[in-house]
């Protein structure tokens, strides 16, 4: 033990343990703007840096890919910046660079997003380019074949990647028979079958005005925001929304092993969770912080990593999709010891389900969850992202003011009720990829 100079007179241990209260609130003022054409925009004016962040969120997403065309929407989205209107792929990239516009496209099971980051000085040119990209992808033969090969290469690589195998297997067995079970990157067969007509149809399904949400953060006022959004969406069809088929979330309990010659086994586990609008969602969120969401403050990390050195990373989280809530976790442990990790995780699941948490656990969870909330709002990009999330989850424009109150209102009784309802140790479904010993 090395003591070059002690600070005992300066710092008392008691001081470290006293938990301060009176946490700052997220200081973000959201304006609800309606564009001339009627589109709702959530706007935060932030003039201190000459940039503008714009996020468009479109309901729908890759679950709409037809059977046999798995991976289609990711393929289409991968082509959105590979040529638009009168610009081919190279001209599009050069134009983006020349006007300092960063335009990104992504898609997940339930939505497609388009994100733009612009300098104020070239905002108008940036909006024109983003509008062109959204409305007029060219789907030229050259980029289609190039991107097809990239996707096929990615699929081949994921066939031996333990994390990809585990995730794919877990989702496939959990959502058997439902579009959510399909591999979102596709299969070699499905990707090879995609035609230019498929891509155009996918584009039309992904980007429409029905189910569109918009957030903007930056050096821009409401009037300008309305004007640029109308330019972005002028060419979009109204379209229609489709309901996700009813989901039966029934992961198979137990442990499924997939043999792979790697030194360390990768496990994904979980069972049914809660929908975002379930009244128990917030108490469950707080509970999960204590169980496996809170990094070094969580029980899983304490028991699996800190006490036993079984893993570098162990975690759990609640996640939702339209019509489905999941409670998922992951761990990676040497083949010889993965069985022990699984035992410990099951035991912690059971302990919390039967014993609940202590008053101290709950207080610490609340101070973290409320106190760290402002950390989500320290950049324009993060704020724009969060505003889109709030809209797509229908949390209400006053959610930022309400949210810490919802956390603070959670009681020990709530946690007990939710733990009994949500945590089902016997229902946990593990997929283990590696050469596990003793499973």
């Amino acid at each position: 033990m090395n003591i070059r100079q002690t600070l005992r007179n300066v710092i008392g241990a008691a001081l470290f343990l006293c938990i301060l209260t009176g946490i700052a609130r997220a200081d973000v003022e959201i304006q609800n703007v309606t564009s001339p054409s009627g589109q709702t925009i959530w706007l935060v004016e932030e003039p201190s840096i000459p940039i503008v962040a714009i996020e468009l969120g479109f309901r729908g997403g890759s679950w709409l890919d037809p059977a046999g065309k798995e991976g289609l929407s990711r393929f289409a989205v991968g082509l959105m910046n590979e040529g638009s209107g009168d610009l081919d792929a190279v001209e599009f990239a050069n134009r983006s660079n020349d006007i300092s516009a960063r335009i990104g496209f992504s898609v997940s099971r339930n939505d497609a997003e388009v994100a733009g980051r612009f300098l104020v000085e070239t905002l108008d040119e940036g909006i024109d380019l983003m509008a062109l990209a959204i409305s007029s992808p060219r789907f030229d033969a050259e980029p289609i074949e190039r991107v097809r090969k990239q996707i096929l290469s990615g699929i081949a690589q994921s066939e031996t990647d333990p994390d990809s195998i585990a995730a794919k297997t877990w989702y496939a067995s959990t959502f058997k028979g439902h579009p959510y079970a399909r591999p979102s990157q596709g299969t070699a067969e499905s990707i090879n079958s995609v035609t230019v007509e498929d891509l155009k149809a996918s584009h039309a399904r992904l980007y429409q005005r029905a189910g569109l949400f918009v957030s903007i953060v930056g050096a821009i006022d409401a009037e300008k925001a309305g004007e640029i959004v109308d330019r972005l969406i002028a060419s979009l069809p109204e379209g229609e929304l489709h309901d996700v088929p009813a989901v039966k979330t029934v992961p198979e309990p137990g442990v499924q092993v997939i043999e792979q010659d790697v030194p360390q086994s990768v496990a994904i586990f979980g069972h049914k969770g809660l929908l975002r609008d379930d009244p128990d969602f917030i108490p469950a969120y707080v509970m999960n912080y204590i169980l496996g969401g809170g990094g070094f403050a969580s029980r899983l990390t304490e028991e699996v990593r800190e006490k036993r050195g079984l893993a570098y990373s162990v975690y759990s989280y609640l996640t939702t999709m339209d019509g489905a809530g999941l409670y998922i976790g992951g761990v990676q442990t040497a083949n010889e010891r993965i069985a022990e990790s699984i035992d410990v995780i099951r035991a912690e699941w059971t302990r919390l389900a039967t014993e609940g948490v202590t008053e101290e656990d709950l207080e610490k969870a609340k101070t973290y969850l409320t106190g760290s909330f402002p950390l989500r709002f320290d950049s324009n990009s993060k704020i724009a992202n969060y505003l889109l999330f709030m809209q797509m989850e229908d949390l209400g424009i006053d959610y930022l003011e309400r949210r810490n109150g919802l956390i603070d209102a959670v009681t020990l009784e709530d946690i007990k009720r939710v733990a009994a309802r949500v945590l089902q140790p016997e229902a946990l479904s593990f997929v283990v990829v590696g050469k596990p010993v003793g499973l």
Partner: protein, 457 residues
């Protein structure tokens, strides 16, 4: 879309941050300018600790970081991984902070903490409400001098870092290949040793190894404090003088490291692994890092690299993917920020039906052509514009800014160097780029590697 082999020389962190939301968003970090540079204040404490304050009053939060000018490259031979192992052990506790409580205290105050180890530096940070700055500073100052580590900690945490190596290196042929490439590139410099450590040496790391590294290097005159966020320089100075000010300097900066001899023979490695499903070829050149005395070289190499391999409109992509159609992906990267010589790397992934040799030969021709004739005026103007914009976009994230400045100071640069860099880049000419490429992209100082599917090598 881009298919990337892994290969960047990134830092190792104590904790992987897991996103709870599975949005497939790889958004570039962002920000930008009327104000070309953020408001940065810098000063030093009497004990030699450098301080950088970056004001950002948009949200009531701060990022507090302490950087030590010591990393994996400073490890004694035979104890590879000790810098990173110590970084993990620094969270165990101090004479004032109970065992295992460090991160829990931060969390109970609504903060997030983590740490990272690179070849040249080790950093510890907290993100927290601005009114908790004093708390985290007290704690960080405490563990600079009074960490408490036991044999029990070492036994358990050593298993954790071995699992970390399993997760991030041994479970991935790409990562193993990248490790082999670096080991072959550096003949004498410790940059050839992986930050995480070689497994057989990690297994033997001891409490004594950790403490002697700590005692040798952790001191205020070998550290940099960076505070970014909703705080004034005056307040930071007051707190820093209170908590870091009393700590005794070591008067013993890290030793210079053994440097590379002239490299006079190209190296070639071939690695096979049954898990590989996509072959590719990669080349790393040993090249100079940013040198404040002669910044033109590294600025020119940076622009060269970007024009060569950044994006679909780059030379590599246009030729290999769009025109010849012999590759499905390619790229290049160069990080000028390094204390000693660094690497410039290019790679190409062959399209079905084409060979690694074809792709390598084509890459050679593209590099030779760009080095010979230089970029076009249009390419040069464009890449400068991209770099100018990225500087503005970067201002959006206080954590990124804090890291940007911290990393620069940790490798021996100054705030003036950081702020003068855009002007250096602006002044680079086509001739500068030709000259830099011609003098530094030397096959004799390079490794060319092929990763292929096959029996384990």
């Amino acid at each position: 879309m881009v298919v990337h082999p892994s290969g960047r020389n990134s830092a190792w962190a104590r904790e992987t941050v897991i996103g709870g939301v599975l949005a497939l968003f790889v958004l570039m970090l962002t920000t930008a300018t009327v104000r070309a540079e953020p408001p940065v204040t810098t000063f030093s404490l009497d004990n030699g600790m450098d301080v950088v304050v970056i004001e950002d009053h948009r949200a009531p939060v701060v990022t507090h970081m302490v950087w030590y000018r010591v990393g994996a490259a400073d490890e004694p031979r035979g104890v590879s991984g000790i810098a990173h192992f110590l970084e993990h052990l620094m969270f165990k506790g101090t004479d004032e902070i109970p065992d295992g409580a460090f991160s829990k205290i931060i969390a109970a105050n609504g903060g997030q903490d983590n740490a990272f180890t690179a070849q040249d530096y080790t950093g510890y940070f907290q993100r927290i409400a601005a009114d908790r700055l004093e708390l985290v500073m007290k704690m960080e100052a405490d563990r600079m001098v009074d960490v408490v580590i036991t044999e029990d900690h070492v036994r358990t945490e050593r298993d954790v870092i071995i699992e970390e190596r399993n997760s991030r290196t041994d479970n991935s042929p790409d990562a193993l290949f990248s490790e082999q490439m670096r080991a072959a590139l550096f003949l004498n410099h410790s940059y050839g040793t992986p930050i995480i450590g070689w497994r057989h040496e990690m297994e033997e790391l001891s409490l004594g190894d950790a403490l002697s590294f700590y005692e040798r290097y952790y001191a205020p005159d070998n550290a940099i404090l960076v505070v970014a966020g909703d705080v004034t320089p005056e307040r930071v100075r007051e707190l820093a003088e209170t908590y870091y000010g009393p700590l005794k300097p070591s008067g013993n900066p890290p030793d210079a490291r053994p440097q590379e001899p002239p490299q006079i023979a190209p190296r070639r490695i071939t690695m096979t692994d049954p898990r590989v499903r996509q072959d590719y070829v990669m080349r790393s050149y040993l090249v100079p890092a940013y040198d404040p005395e002669d910044p033109v070289n590294s600025a020119a190499l940076m622009l060269f690299t970007s024009i060569l391999g950044d994006g679909v409109a780059s030379r590599l992509s246009k030729t290999l993917q769009l025109e010849q159609k012999i590759a499905i992906s390619s790229g290049a990267w160069y990080s000028p920020r390094s204390r000693d010589a660094t690497s410039l790397t290019v790679y190409g992934v062959p399209a079905p039906g084409h060979t690694l040799d074809e792709v390598e030969n084509a890459i050679d021709a593209i590099i030779a052509d760009l080095a010979e004739t230089g970029p076009t005026e249009e390419e040069l103007v464009r890449v400068k514009r991209v770099l100018r914009a990225s500087r503005v976009f970067m201002q959006d994230s206080q954590s990124s800014l804090a890291r940007f400045y911290g990393a620069a100071l940790a490798i021996g640069l100054t705030v003036q160097d950081v702020q003068g860099w855009p002007a250096v880049v602006e002044a680079i000419t086509i001739d500068d780029i030709r000259k830099a490429a011609q003098s530094h992209l030397d096959l004799n100082a390079s490794v060319t590697g092929s990763l292929m599917r096959g029996e384990a090598s």
